[in-house]
Symmetry: C2
Subunit: 118 residues, 2 copies
DNA sequence: CCCGTACTACGATGCCTATCGTACGAGACG
DNA sequence: CGTCTCGTACGATAGGCATCGTAGTACGGG
């Protein structure tokens, strides 16, 4: 066990390795409005954000579920920091696997938000 | 009723208008392996292909279902031509709504197929 | 050590969906 | 007309999933 792992009480979270990330899973993860919103905010911020930072119109249970889907599909990276769980986009890995995909989706989401939201 | 509509026995199929196409629905449609495969073949061919051209490892009922999901999400255009039902990518509409998105997904799919398929 | 905050785990529920089989409709062709 | 092919419609089924509520765990601070 690494020092880092011991430092957060061994509460490491399972992430798919780079080679395990599947395009279909990524697209499915991004096809949910809640999750797409989360990803957009993460991309806009550029840094790590805690789960509680997001004010989604669902319960915390459901929020936990969505973050898990995003993590298990390889879209985000999650790590505990104290009681908080920090979330960051796996932009480097995604860009490596699927160049331009994330940016296209983000641009498409922004466009649609502009078009629909006013 | 137009002449064209009468010519094919009024078997016109409902398609979403450009403004009705939703990014989430498009991503969801593309997140299924069967449907992604269909879209890849359509993009590779560049022209219209009949449903029966595709040799999917599912029954015809299921194939019909997948084509309907693709059509109703706005990814493909379907039109009857005799007994055959021709399918074509709505590349113009998608590129207009979400520039670069389709190409990114297709490139990502090709990359993954290369990586996994050998 | 106790408490509050942050997040999880688990079970329930209702909806969506991928799949199939069978029966049917529409056009082409002899 | 009869028949063949192509694709649809409908019902069934099984699994997935978004959602909730409640109860519980982990960590930090007084």
């Amino acid at each position: 066990m690494t020092t880092a792992a011991r430092a957060n009480g061994s509460r490491d979270l399972p992430h798919p390795a780079l080679e395990e990330i599947r395009l279909e899973s990524v697209l499915h993860a991004l096809s949910d409005p809640m999750r797409l919103q989360v990803v957009r905010e993460l991309a806009a911020d550029g840094d790590e954000l805690s789960c509680s930072h997001f004010d989604l119109p669902v319960t915390k249970s459901t929020t936990t579920h969505h973050f898990r889907v995003l993590r298990e599909s390889g879209v985000i990276r999650q790590v505990y920091r104290g009681t908080a769980k920090m979330n960051g986009l796996r932009r480097d890995d995604l860009d490596d696997l699927f160049p331009g995909l994330l940016d296209s989706v983000l641009a498409a989401a922004a466009r649609q938000a502009d078009r629909l939201g006013g």
